[in-house]
């Protein structure tokens, strides 16, 4: 191995290690998934000596979307594949397999994309799936400015980077979903508590019992075309006057009084 080659190998090892540390560093509690993917695209370009990189992700309906690209040109190329429904990235996403060193000449299985990519200065492309267990989330695409061949080791490295990105994406989705569900639970809890507090406030002001207080609260909500919980919360927050609810005009009681 020449000194120059050895030095390049060492540099790449160091950069590989730094990249993984950098990505793990971004995976803290409040990480931004776009941040992680931006780091991933720019480092894949450096590590694998690609000219550019892009990431496609499937949305909830299974449609691919461009999520990150190291250059504007690649962004357009990725969109081109989605719009024309052909290209190495789509094949990679549909099969879950690496599309390796596809040379984009006349013999390419994607004639329209090959022409477009060659025009943009990328005669070769490699697509690696973003996967978690059996699920394919999207793919990482590397665009080469020369018809170079990535070695097995380089493809393995690209896959390792893609796997880290997949973890980040799945974790981000789980965190978002959990936060939404927790929000619903907390809101339901505080609303329910607010109704009890509101009953107490009306009962005290109007010198009535809790059932009567509740029916006044409900009558006020109906008369004003507002939700029961919302009125209770406003009362507790002090944005609705307790007297206006306590002295609400109520319809005559129904024949069978409903107990709460």
């Amino acid at each position: 191995m020449s000194d120059d080659t050895r030095q390049r190998a060492l540099n790449r090892q160091a950069l590989t290690a730094t990249t993984f540390v950098e990505i793990v560093d971004t995976l803290v509690d409040d990480f931004d998934v776009i941040d992680v993917l931006t780091v991933l695209t720019s480092r894949s370009v450096e590590l694998l000596e690609a000219a550019a990189a892009g990431i496609l992700l499937a949305d909830g309906d299974g449609h691919l979307r461009v999520i990150g690209a190291s250059t504007e040109q690649v962004q357009l190329l990725e969109l081109f594949q989605i719009q024309n429904d052909e290209g190495p990235c789509l094949d990679c996403f549909n099969t879950g397999n690496v599309v390796l060193n596809a040379s984009l000449d006349a013999s390419s299985p994607w004639p329209q994309f090959a022409a477009e990519s060659a025009r943009a200065g990328f005669p070769s492309v490699c697509a690696v799936p973003l996967r978690l267990k059996d699920a394919i989330l999207g793919c990482l695409n590397l665009f080469m400015s020369e018809p170079v061949l990535l070695s097995d080791a380089e493809v393995a490295l690209a896959q390792a980077l893609a796997d880290v990105a997949s973890i980040a994406i799945v974790q981000d989705q789980a965190t978002r979903e959990a936060a939404i569900r927790e929000g619903h639970l907390q809101h339901a809890l505080t609303s329910r508590i607010a109704i009890e507090q509101a009953k107490g406030m009306i009962a005290e002001r109007g010198r009535v019992d809790m059932d009567d207080a509740f029916s006044r609260l409900r009558a006020y909500a109906r008369n004003n075309n507002r939700g029961l919980t919302e009125v209770a919360e406003s009362l507790v927050a002090g944005t609705v006057d307790v007297d206006s609810i306590t002295h609400v005009r109520r319809p005559p009681p129904p024949p069978t009084a409903r107990q709460r």
Binding site: A179, R181, Q186, A188, L189, I193, V236
Partner: protein, 239 residues
């Protein structure tokens, strides 16, 4: 924690919970973990309520933590980490004096609290009670960590099924159990002209000063047998 263990605990839990859907989650926890008692509390905004307890004894201890605002449950929720008190040594007594008093009276020798948390959110606490002093076994601890994930998902799924904005039927107990306390807070807030959350603190303080359970004080307020007085006014004057 590995996936295999989570699955094993989930299955054991589901089997136990299905046996007695009425007494519900806590009975299943006690059986799966082989502990003396358990309580599951849903918490939010400092307001909390037990969804279930495995026995009357545990209900008192869970209630006391709410009354005093102190105990393993609060500490676990605040820190987001498990809190272990394998015996009530001096440091534990210093941290939760009232809780330890009551726990010893109830014949409890050790307590362990695990936050109900998953994917960055906290929704409550699982508290385990042991009659005898001593640490949980490593297996019990690992199983508890797995069970906490299952319980968190169970509580969130219960709520998912509820109409928007309404509290799920299975979680209603967390509020109705303390309905009188919230009603009393509303009454005191009018009497003293203070926000309901502050009124709750006043009720707690009164209960503590008079050595009464907060539930009894609330019941007296709701029945108008008791009226809290404003320090700034003569006794009996309301706001």
């Amino acid at each position: 924690m590995n996936a295999e263990q989570s699955t094993r605990i989930a299955v054991a839990f589901a089997r136990e919970a299905a046996k007695s859907p009425r007494s519900g989650l806590c009975a299943a926890v006690v059986d799966v973990l082989a502990v003396s008692g358990a309580g599951i509390t849903v918490m939010g905004d400092g307001q909390a309520g037990p969804v279930c307890v495995s026995s009357r004894r545990m209900a008192e201890l869970e209630d006391l933590q709410f009354t005093m605002g102190e105990g393993p449950c609060q500490d676990a929720f605040r820190s987001g980490r498990p809190v272990h008190a394998p015996s009530f040594d001096l440091s534990v007594i210093a941290r939760w004096p009232s809780f330890v008093d009551q726990a010893q009276e109830c014949g409890v020798g050790a307590v362990f609290a695990y936050p109900l948390a998953a994917n960055g959110v906290k929704i409550g606490v699982l508290t385990l009670y042991q009659d005898d002093e001593g640490e949980l076994s490593a297996a019990q601890h690992d199983d508890s960590m797995a069970l906490v994930e299952v319980l968190t998902e169970t509580v969130l799924s219960l709520q998912d099924a509820a109409p928007e904005g309404a509290l799920a039927a299975g979680l209603e107990d967390a509020v109705t159990y303390r309905a009188e306390i919230h009603q009393a807070s509303g009454m005191v807030s009018i009497q003293l002209g203070i926000p309901a959350t502050e009124a709750l603190l006043r009720i707690r303080a009164y209960a503590f000063a008079n050595d009464q359970p907060v539930g009894n004080v609330a019941a007296d307020i709701v029945a108008r047998r008791l009226r809290l007085t404003d320090d700034r006014h003569e006794p009996g004057e309301g706001g």
